[in-house]
């Protein structure tokens, strides 16, 4: 499991096999707004980056989050 998946798994409290790139907040009851910001903060901490507001808003799924973090040059 990579860093991004482990952040989601840790904060959302899901089983490892439940963390796929298709996991999206629209279909995940545990992924509320506060958890969303916890995920952002954890990713910022792990990668040493500051995520822009537009990117925070665009993190709709694990896969999309991975794409966004990649634009910061840390993956």
């Amino acid at each position: 499991m990579d860093v991004i998946a482990s952040v989601f798994q840790e904060i959302l409290g899901l089983e490892p096999q439940e963390i796929t790139d298709d996991l999206a907040y629209e279909t995940c009851d545990r992924w509320d707004s506060l958890k969303h910001l916890e995920i952002v903060s954890a990713l910022e901490s792990r990668f040493g980056i500051a995520v822009e507001i537009d990117d925070i808003l665009a993190m709709e799924s694990v896969g999309r989050t991975r794409e966004i973090i990649r634009t910061y040059g840390v993956l």
């Binding site: 009851d29 509320d32 707004s33 969303h36 952002v40 993190m59 709709e60």
Partner: protein
Amino acid sequence: MYEGNPYRTRHTDDLCLVGAFLDDRLVGVHGWLPLVVNHHGTPRTGCHFCNWLAAPDMRRGSWPIRLTTDPIRAIGADACFGFAFTPQSRPILQRLGWTIDAALPRHTRILDAGAFAGLFAGQPAVVEATAGWASGPCPAEGGDVVERASLRDVDWDDVYWSQLAPASWGPARERAWLVWRYEEVPGFAYRFLTLMRDGAPAGLLVFRVELVSGTPFTVIRIVDILAGPEDWEPLLARCVAIGVAAGAALADFFCASTRVGAVLAKAGFVAGSAGQPDPVPFLFRPLDPPPQAQEFGWQFTGADPAVCGGDLYLTKADGDFDRPN
């Protein structure tokens, strides 16, 4: 879906409400009051957050956050203000760059010790906590202070923008805003004291006399003092004199500015202790026990945010706290 403001004025004819629908179900609302922001004498665009609600089953991911960021961007707000955050909204807004302060500073003066003791006879802790707040003599009146029934005909904006606005920042106090807030959609009956100099207004104090429901006691609620530091004293003196003559128990003023403490103290007002609960109730309809601090916050996204801070002028009149409770 965006909606305009039914209480349309020059300041509030913009969009002020966004509703989010899932199929035909309303699942989220964000409402705000558009306003002109004074940024040290320069007018900018801003808003006051009023309502931000999302259905519990829709509080997912970034969606509720988008509910507030999208419309604020749409109106191009340089600054946003708000009161009374929740455990849910506070961390979100802070992550969006808001500064949230624990308490809107309150300044309170006992006007009539007997009335004060009578008002809080059922709350001995209040009387005990304020034992050192001697009411003291009325500050000396002076200057040409005139009480007015309306501000509609007062030539105010020139003096506000040229002489008063450069010293602070926050929601602008143009005449149109004052008339809208205190005369058109008032909530209470407000009274206006203007300090005149050379035939023109140099300062303004807005207050109201509130009857504590179920009692014979009244309190003076000051909601705006717009004047240079040297002009606060005559305005406060007249207001205090009016309150004393009316037998009011106390006068209070909630204001974010860190510059107002000294002149208020000179007029006998006691500032609340930072980080400490205020010992005196502030809800009088009906009289409530001492409340929690009145949290307030702001975000400035325009140019030069570093200069914003202690000279923020924001009062209880900017939120819903000066509405009948």
